[in-house]
């Protein structure tokens, strides 16, 4: 495991070099950013609501992060992994009851009105806390936001809230929207949700359903000389095979979020003028997880769960399903997380004989047809890879005498079947790790979550010790004590297997050589692209 840490450091060092190379134009070999030009890129989905303060999801950020900015953005080399955006500094009080943000001076909304602390207070109290999918958990104890002056916002919490959590949540959860636009009428019905107004480097231009989104340069942007691009066009290409041909035909210059299928990458990397980039998604790690319905008596038995874990050849999955563009997982925190990951957890090496022995021990003997019992397996339909892993898992389970029957559903039906109706035995899900286990990871195993909450523990798993650990960690203010508790959390999850983490993956970008400053932060595809440029 230690060699992985080394490789991660190497990778970070590599990215730092990359940053340095673009940040120091005085060096002869570095490229100087050029002004102007139109960047055309592939968009595979068309989110209806473009308000990132309400819908904190990558599909929305992909477009709206250029228009609406957050208080801080993720960074490879910044302190605590953050770079300032609308906030220039932040500090948490020792008692965990307040957090102070100093805001940037001279920032204007796209309609010319000045940006002030009142906008931050409004966004936090009226949108992040009550309406945002992720903010509901993170900001649940936010009681008030004081605004002593226009450039200071003080968040007051009713209960001690770890500042580490607030800090880690900033890049994804802190999109600030203008109070003067949103204070009239119902926030959910505001026209700015479909034509957003923000402070970002680009303004919303127009949206033609099924065709494109157009963003135009914000000439009043606070960043010096930024943005470089005049226009960004999101060309809607829902068919995954068309993005690769569009790149080759030079109709688009960028396909992010793995719009080019993994199997095509090898071929396309040899096309002159195009490059395949695996960096720039470190902050958006997806986890390939086998969700387990503990209401099934067989699956409530730890030995059966261990057997299933032993039956999965994680290396094969990474190599074949993900063609190497993924890493094997050991537990609920991905290996590339710099703060919380620990390799010191129970592991389940691929071992069919051991898996069979465990099932025999658990009392599930093979029947005459070679099967021990049957299960219903529901692979999530969102990614090709989750579907393919479903096919693989069926085979892996057949090898240990478990007959898995695949059930395919569309997205809506899958979410209903798994998270509301609990009509599954095993499901394959792709939850996202968002930089802190408390944001969207602990709810995967915590008990007492109401039915119907997607990407949460809907398998009926209940472990009082683990619940207590999660509660304790959510109240621990000291950063290192809190980190240790989450390391403990990883150990317990890996030991009791409420779910099985198989692999971790992120996305790949394919871009024309002309696009500069790509992948220079860990959430690049969903960052503001103020420094992205096009060479002529």
């Amino acid at each position: 495991m230690s060699d992985f840490t080394v490789s991660r450091r190497k990778m970070l060092a590599g990215s730092a070099m990359l940053l340095a190379s673009t940040a120091m134009p005085s060096l002869g070999w570095a490229r100087t950013p050029k002004k102007g030009g139109r960047l055309v890129l592939a968009a595979d989905s068309e989110p209806r609501n473009l308000n990132p303060a309400i819908v904190a999801s990558n599909g929305v950020f992909f477009i709206s992060s250029k228009i609406v900015e957050t208080l801080a953005e993720a960074s490879f080399d910044g302190k605590d992994g953050l770079a300032p955006r609308l906030a220039v500094s932040w500090e948490g009080a020792a008692d965990g009851l307040s957090a102070t943000f100093k805001l940037r001076e001279g920032v204007k909304w796209h309609d010319g009105k000045p940006f002030t602390s009142a906008d931050v207070a409004f966004s936090a109290l009226q949108i992040w806390k009550p309406l945002q999918n992720l903010g509901r958990t993170v900001f649940k104890d936010l009681a008030a936001v004081d605004t002593p002056d226009d450039l200071t916002a003080v968040f007051k919490f009713a209960k001690p809230t770890p500042f580490q959590l607030i800090r880690n949540a900033l890049p994804a959860l802190s999109s600030v929207v203008p109070r003067h636009i949103y204070e009239v009428g119902k926030i959910e019905d505001n026209p700015a949700n479909t034509a957003p107004i923000g402070t970002g480097p680009f303004k919303f231009g127009e949206y033609k359903a099924g065709q494109y989104y157009r963003l135009t340069k914000n000439t009043d942007y606070w960043g010096k000389d930024e943005p470089y691009l005049d226009e960004i066009i999101y060309q809607v290409l829902p068919d995954r095979t068309s993005a690769a041909s569009a790149l080759e035909a030079e109709e688009i210059q960028l396909a992010a979020f793995s719009a080019v299928p993994l199997a095509d990458l090898d071929r396309i990397s040899k096309v002159p003028g195009l490059k395949v980039i695996t960096k720039g998604y470190e902050g958006l790690t997806y986890q390939l997880v086998v969700e387990i319905n503990h209401r099934r008596k067989e699956l409530a038995d730890l030995k059966v769960r261990q057997a299933i874990a032993h039956a999965i050849d994680k290396d094969f999955v990474v190599k074949t399903v993900f063609l190497g563009y993924a890493a094997t997982a050991t537990g609920p925190v991905p290996k590339n997380d710099p703060q919380f990951y620990t390799a010191d957890v129970p592991t389940y090496p691929f071992d069919v004989a051991k898996a069979n022995a465990l099932l025999d021990e658990a009392g599930y003997k093979k029947g005459a047809d070679g099967n021990r019992f049957s299960l219903k397996l529901l692979p999530a339909p969102y990614f090709n890879e989750t579907k393919q892993f479903g096919d693989y898992l069926r085979q892996a389970l057949a090898a240990i005498g478990i007959d898995a029957q695949l059930v395919n559903n569309d997205s809506a039906a899958h979410i209903k079947a798994v998270y509301t109706d609990h009509a599954f035995d095993l499901a394959v899900g792709p939850p996202v790790f968002r930089g802190d286990p408390a944001i969207s990871t602990t709810i995967l195993v915590q008990s007492g979550i109401p039915d119907g909450v997607p990407f949460s523990n809907q398998g009926g798993y209940k472990n009082d010790a683990l619940d207590a650990l999660i509660t304790k960690a959510s109240e621990t203010l000291d950063t290192s004590a809190r980190t240790d508790l989450y390391k403990q959390f990883q150990k317990e999850v890996a030991a009791d297997l409420p779910l099985i983490n198989v692999a971790e993956w992120s996305f790949i970008s394919v871009a024309s050589d002309k696009v500069g400053n790509i992948a220079n932060n860990p959430r690049w595809a969903v960052s503001n692209w103020a420094d992205t440029y096009l060479e002529s």
Partner: protein, 276 residues
């Protein structure tokens, strides 16, 4: 000349029969030649065809044997095609006979129902049905039959309308046979030949519909189907085109075979009728 010899004289009919025979042989021998689960992982992923003779047609993205999948897929295609066609013909013949024989209100109601089914494109009907009920082989068969029984129903009704005026029907009435008995024992068997002549078109359409449903991810995921194989191969179309081409060719040959053989039968019977 016997009908068989006349059939064998038509070259396209012979070609069709050979293709169908090959397909049936594939379907029947699938379990013998490729025992076990055809979806089991058999080798390295994305092995091109003709590289390794233990896996002559190569492997797909998970390393499953394409040839084994092709054979087992023939089984699904043929089973679905035949079952759906049989169901469609059965429903159609019964509805058509009842409508034609009963006359009046029953005829009116049954034919309007038939109209209603005919106005909905059969593929959309199948698509809607499968997405509501959930994909499994039996459901797919019902879904396809739902959209194709109207043709046989109309033909059967037209045929029954002419047959019911014949003398032997009047005789049956005179000796006091129950109307339903007359309809199904005297009229239906005589109305069947033109209805059966439609079977080849229906089987071919059913095989294509099944493939299209699988292609859209609405086939039975626990079985190999050619449509499913094409859909899987589509994501790697540029790097491994054989994954889509191989099942695609199989599909084309099957539909062609069914159609040619059907044409041959129709022509043979038509000539026989003309001569007699």
């Amino acid at each position: 000349m016997s009908p068989l010899r006349r059939f064998l004289r038509t070259p396209e009919a012979v070609a069709g029969a050979i293709l169908l025979g090959a397909l049936a042989a594939m379907a029947l021998s699938a379990s013998l030649l490729f025992p076990g689960d055809p979806q089991a992982i058999a080798g390295p992923a994305l092995l091109p065809p003709f590289q390794d003779w233990s896996l002559p047609l190569g492997t797909d993205r998970l390393g499953r044997d394409v040839l084994a999948e092709l054979f087992h897929g023939a089984r699904t295609s043929l089973a679905v095609g035949l079952a759906a066609a049989a169901a469609a013909l059965a429903i159609g013949a019964v509805v058509g006979t009842l409508a034609g024989f009963a006359d009046g209100l029953v005829d009116e109601v049954l034919m309007r129902v038939t109209d209603a089914f005919q106005t909905v494109p059969s593929f959309l009907l199948a698509l809607a049905f499968v997405s509501v009920v959930g994909p499994s082989l039996g459901i797919v068969v019902i879904a396809i039959a739902l959209g194709t029984w109207t043709g046989p129903a109309r033909v059967a009704r037209a045929e029954v309308l002419s047959i019911r005026e014949r003398d032997y029907v009047a005789n049956a009435r005179a000796i006091g046979m129950h109307p339903l008995e007359i309809a199904f024992r005297e009229v239906l068997p005589n109305a069947l030949p033109p209805v059966l002549a439609m079977s080849s078109v229906i089987v071919a359409a059913a095989i294509l519909t099944e493939a299209a449903l699988s292609f859209l991810g609405l086939g039975d995921p626990n079985r190999v189907t050619w449509g499913g194989m094409i859909a899987e191969g589509r994501t790697v179309l540029r790097t491994a085109p054989f994954l889509s081409i191989v099942p695609g060719i199989a599909l084309v040959l099957t539909v062609l075979g069914v159609y040619l053989a059907g044409e041959g039968i129709v022509e043979t019977t038509a000539v026989k009728r003309g001569l007699s």
